[in-house]
Symmetry: C2
Subunit: 421 residues, 2 copies
């Protein structure tokens, strides 16, 4: 009898990653819970896509109803997309009033890169050296987990990522200026190489970089450098967006800067494939004037209904407030954990991280992996991030409750207690 893993290998090919040494066979989800084929329940502390909870009935109902009425592209008129865009852009400041709906965060970032090109007439792009902005050919060229096919092209420069334990420039206080200086150097290189500078793409929470603790105003000097050079600030909100950080709907609001372009993705429609690019009218006009962009599945009535229902649940259930309150509770509990491998506990709303290091300060990669595996064995799903994958990453559905946080922390305490010294 062929196992599911064997079927995957036969039908999907090699190197298609699963989580965990013993991959979980999930068959059902509800709220913060997932169930496997044996009926075992797992606390989902990892998945940000089911933002308002797995299978939220209001989103399911919206998808089901609209799928039964109409689902076409946007070359006909339909209220659905407009009703949603009105609600979405009401959540933005800085003149970010116009939107392109697409299907994935990768598509959104791929568009954002071309907006920077269209506005500036240049091609040079800067990102950090420990990030991920998507899987299209263009966005994969900014993604550093593995080099893109064909290698890194000349028009891309990767600057050292902000880091809590090993700050750029050597000190937490100096990191903001040092990071801005790295960006300025990359801009000069791009200009010298003839590419010119189009834009800087960043996650405002530096999520893939490990969610570093950064001082207030950290990005101010960098944003000033980007603006002075005539480049666009391309803000990838695929992870921090829609209230994840608890303090604001968007990561750029949390960090206190004004982006030129914002991209949205994963949590936007609770799992239905919807993503977006939000920008100022002048940026949209430059892009729309240069290129006839159309996306068949972007902004269909079903996509718009799923996204609108998700947004309405975030508002109706005050999930941003929940991320703030439960996130703070979880952060406090995790900070109370004691183990010699814990170097730092970090938290922004319902985005939490625990970094492990060895006695000599080196990344405790194997330790972190073992913790993830043991948490999974005890029914708590989370995972790892960071350059050396030594940082626990927790990013649960936004309906995460206080007792869920307590179960997470108690299980982690227990697992850490049982770990070899």
């Amino acid at each position: 009898m062929e196992s599911l893993a064997e079927r995957r290998l036969r039908l999907m090919g090699p190197n298609v990653p699963t989580f965990y040494r013993d991959p979980v066979h999930i068959v059902r989800g509800e709220g913060v819970w997932l169930w496997d084929a044996d009926g075992r329940r797992y606390l989902d502390c990892y998945n940000n896509v089911p933002h308002v909870g797995h299978c939220h009935p209001r989103v399911v109902e919206a998808i089901s109803r609209q799928a039964g009425i109409l689902n076409t592209h946007t070359r006909y008129l339909h209220e659905g997309i407009l009703d949603y865009l009105d609600r979405l852009t009401a959540r933005f400041d800085h003149g970010l009033t116009q939107t392109i709906l697409v299907c994935t965060g990768s598509e959104a970032n791929d568009v954002a890169l071309r907006m920077a090109e269209a506005v500036t007439g240049k091609t040079g792009i800067i990102a950090t050296d420990n990030t991920y902005h998507g899987n299209t050919r263009a966005t994969s060229q900014l993604s550093t987990r593995r080099p893109p096919i064909g290698g890194y092209p000349g028009h891309v420069r990767l600057v050292p990522a902000p880091d809590s334990l090993h700050p750029v420039g050597g000190s937490p206080e100096g990191q903001a200026q040092a990071f801005a200086a790295e960006v300025a150097r990359a801009i000069a290189e791009l200009e010298e190489a003839g590419h010119g500078f189009a834009g800087f793409m960043l996650c405002p929470a530096f999520a893939n970089e490990g969610l570093p603790v950064l001082p207030p105003g950290f990005l101010d000097p960098t944003i000033a450098v980007v603006r002075a050079a005539g480049g666009l600030v391309l803000c990838d909100e695929v992870q921090p967006g829609f209230g994840r950080l608890g303090s604001a709907w968007w990561g750029h609001a949390h960090m206190g800067f004004a982006p030129d372009v914002v991209t949205l993705g994963k949590p936007m429609a609770n799992g239905h494939p919807v993503a977006a690019v939000v920008c100022r009218p002048d940026v949209m006009a430059a892009f729309r004037g240069a290129f006839g962009y159309f996306n068949t599945f972007g902004g269909t009535p079903v996509s718009a209904a799923a996204a609108l229902a998700t947004l309405e649940v975030i508002e109706a259930e005050d999930l941003v407030g929940n991320a703030r309150d439960v996130g703070a509770h979880a952060f406090g509990l995790l900070r109370g954990l004691s183990h010699p491998r814990i170097a730092e506990v970090r938290g922004l709303g319902l985005f939490l991280a625990v970094e492990f290091v060895l006695e000599d300060g080196a990344p405790a990669t194997d330790f972190a992996e073992e913790v993830v595996e043991r948490m999974r064995q005890r029914g708590v799903l989370l995972n790892r991030i960071g350059r050396k994958m030594n940082i626990l990453k927790m990013r649960p559905p936004m309906v995460f409750a206080r007792d869920n946080a307590e179960m997470l922390a108690a299980t982690l305490a227990d697992v850490l207690d049982g770990m070899p010294a």
Copy 2:
């Protein structure tokens, strides 16, 4: 009171195209029918995305059911994607047994291009000079409706598209050899420029090129040239796939050649955002070995359920047979139309085209536009293709019936009768 068109402009920006001078405000769909906000019914002769009919209850039910049970990414195990891929790849020959599920045809073609790079170690890509393969940065570089932002890059060569009325090489008989010679010339140019040759991307029906009538074996000399040069044949089945041509499930089967990579899109899940790349294991291994591709929304349980339901309806209702039979009936009726502007009527299953030319043989672009508008006024939705947009394009849902074909032909006869000479 702000109109829908004004809201679109405010929220979506300029140059977001709608169909028709007076865009249709569609609110409901069922089978081959669409209804506007005033309750007026339209015969949909254009939309290939609702492949098994607008709002097919079996697809709606599959989406609704699975959305209420579980929707996660593919890093856990789930039968849904495997059950679908087994059914899908059973429809392929030539060793095409492995699949990556993505969300859009653009994403699929973007992956296919990198598969050619991964296999060959080269970057040069050839496409025709009147085609469209997607809206990502990489795929837009092969799309000729408008030049891509940043211009056409050096590693892309566009060869003259096959054409019914103005065949490449000057004669219908010689077009197959002349087309192959153009491809050979482009390969030599790519090699001379140092890019090398990675692959040739084509739609096997040359749909955007205007659905030209081509002799049997037309592509054989071209495929031989591509193979001899070590390049991959990347077959974009987004339009002809899933039985549209009536004669076979896939355009490459209709044309009688063996692709290395096949991409699927629009009709695959009747409107739910699902697309795919199907290839041989050696091609998949080269890609998966070179690049850590993961797609968050690709192959989720809901996407797999929607795609499987669509495939099962195609089989259960014998929609490929319907495309053959009703397509032939429609083709016969359209061939029976008489008007001095009709240069050629072309049909492959439920993909039909009528090319209009002026008395001097020049493309009758304005005439075609006027016909499209008048058909819309009479409740029949279709549109235009071709280098000069002088070709009617008809590509209805696959449940199109004989009396639908008769309504289409009768309405078109009537519209043509009323057109100024």
